[in-house]
């Protein structure tokens, strides 16, 4: 069965303290891995798509990387406005339309 696991569940950082979030996946062939940001009471906001192992994408203080079993979202010198839940989702290759989400990492950045 296709599965996505994110760790840690929650993370508290001081402003400027860099860290990484992990997304491990087990799917029958990966079509794409997607990172989203979700603020309280809002829908997930798309950040990145990664397709193949070794690929990297960057946006401001965020950088996403992908291996054959996991993806990392690196946050460099975070600011309080980066506080949110970060979600990882995968789309499997086997003729399925659905995107499977992990449980997310709740990030809190303290000023």
């Amino acid at each position: 069965e296709d599965q996505v696991t994110q760790s840690p569940e929650a993370l508290r950082l001081q402003e400027g303290e860099s860290s990484s979030l992990n997304c491990s996946y087990t799917v029958s062939g990966l079509r794409g891995l997607f990172w989203y940001r979700q603020d309280p009471g809002k829908g997930p906001e798309f950040l990145f798509t990664l397709y193949s192992a070794g690929e990297e994408k960057e946006k401001e203080r965020l950088k996403a990387t992908l291996t054959k079993k996991e993806s990392f979202l690196h946050i460099t010198a975070p600011k309080p406005e980066d506080s949110a839940t970060y979600l990882c989702a995968v789309q499997a290759r086997t003729g399925t339309y659905k995107y499977i989400f992990g449980t997310g990492t709740r990030l809190k950045v303290l000023a």
Partner: protein, 114 residues
């Protein structure tokens, strides 16, 4: 930037009542989805819809649920007889034609069943 819009933002209904949640996907998107998120839990797939028919559905999407694209812009989710456990945030999403296109989500409808 184009966005997915959902109405209402909050719906309160009594157990056993029918509800219709409405969505306007991004205009040039062809694939439409409903997901739900129970408070504090993960975003769960309900159904995907393409070319005026359901392309895939989850175990959650039983006979009480139905989807419809009544015209060229709206996409609806109907729950025929709501249960307490249907209380959740319901998200509509759409994506473009590419196989690896990301989903774009609306801000959800919070459904409270009393």
């Amino acid at each position: 930037e184009p966005e997915v819009t959902q109405t209402p933002s909050h719906q309160v209904t009594q157990m056993g009542q029918e509800v219709i949640l409405r969505c306007v996907p991004i205009s040039n998107h062809l694939y439409f989805y409903w997901y739900r998120q129970i408070l504090g839990q993960k975003v769960e797939f309900l159904v995907s819809f393409y070319n005026n028919e359901i392309s895939e559905k989850s175990e959650i999407f039983d006979d009480q649920f139905s989807v419809e694209r009544p015209d060229g812009s709206n996409f609806t989710l109907k729950i025929r007889s709501t249960k307490l456990e249907d209380s959740a945030m319901y998200f509509c999403a759409s994506r473009g034609q590419g196989d690896r296109s990301p989903l774009h989500f609306g801000n959800g409808t919070r459904l409270t069943v009393t």
